[in-house]
Symmetry: C2
Subunit: 146 residues, 2 copies
DNA sequence: TATAAAAAAGCAACAATGTTGCAAAAGATA
DNA sequence: TATCTTTTGCAACATTGTTGCTTTTTTATA
């Protein structure tokens, strides 16, 4: 390990990667750590900034992609076109996401939160439409910015 | 008017532009027409393809931007990073959007609809969070694809 | 309708973001 | 440790978005 990437929580990281059949590499540990030590979600740009000194841009793209595929992280819809990612809970796995919580974006600090305890509401659709997944994003002021 | 841009619904278009204090130009008429003759929403890419032969890419960006600013169209959040736009209803105006409907994306045909009659639900947030605007995007199968 | 002022469009150049193929390096396995 | 497999970095490229400036179009007014 020639590069000096400081990894905390190493055991947890390795366990999570192994569970998902991923080999343990510096970039995966580093990027996964960013999510673990973070309250809210991360925009692609943030991740690239924080991990980008050590790792190639392409590696960041590929790492995020594989994390989404494996059900380790999920994307969060936004109205500007920036992709945001956050850790999934245990129910998600390879090829199937089951994230049924809502998301909250703070007007003030711009943090995006997964509100894991707020379940997405039932939506009554017009005749002819059948619902699959429902995404809810609430914009407002967060607990730290009141 | 040397360019042969065919505009239907010209009166409606002109009225809408004038109402919003915009001068009447070919590109604005053409792009606005795309929205009027369309059931669903339009991705930026679609608009650029459909209007891009006649108009510069930059003009498309600037036109969409000013339409959003004036409350003529609104953006729709997506998880992939593509921006989608749809016409606003009458309540929207310069500097204030009041789009309280939900959006529906068809898995099959990939059309995005504004479901104007489905009102966004009340969301009960955890202590400390205060809600502003709520965005709901439902993914499923649309009326034409059942 | 002709003219002047204001606004918008087009163009070019650039920045940022995302993708692909391939050789080198690192990781897993025995 | 040796071998095989996977991942990384790099380079090159494509796509998307932005900015300043000149020309053209639109609007307002005589
Ligand atoms: Mn989430
Ligand atoms: Mn809408
Ligand atoms: Zn906040
Ligand atoms: Zn459909």
């Amino acid at each position: 390990m020639p590069k000096e990437v400081v990894i905390v929580n190493n055991n947890k990281l390795i366990k999570l990667l192994k569970q998902n059949g991923l080999s343990i590499t510096d970039s995966r540990r580093k990027i996964l750590q960013l999510f673990l030590e973070q309250d809210g979600a991360l925009a692609h740009g943030d991740i690239e900034k924080k991990a980008g000194e050590k790792f190639d841009r392409v590696t960041v793209y590929r790492t995020l992609q594989i994390f989404v595929d494996k059900g380790i992280i999920h994307t969060i819809p936004t109205a500007d076109n920036s992709i945001r990612y956050a850790l999934c809970k245990d129910e998600c796995g390879e090829g199937h996401h089951h994230d049924h919580h809502i998301h909250f974006v703070c007007d003030n600090c711009n943090t995006t939160y997964c509100l894991d305890d707020v379940v997405t509401p039932e939506i009554k659709l017009p005749k002819g439409y059948s619902a699959g997944h429902v995404e809810v994003v609430v914009e407002g002021v967060c607990k730290n910015c009141q």
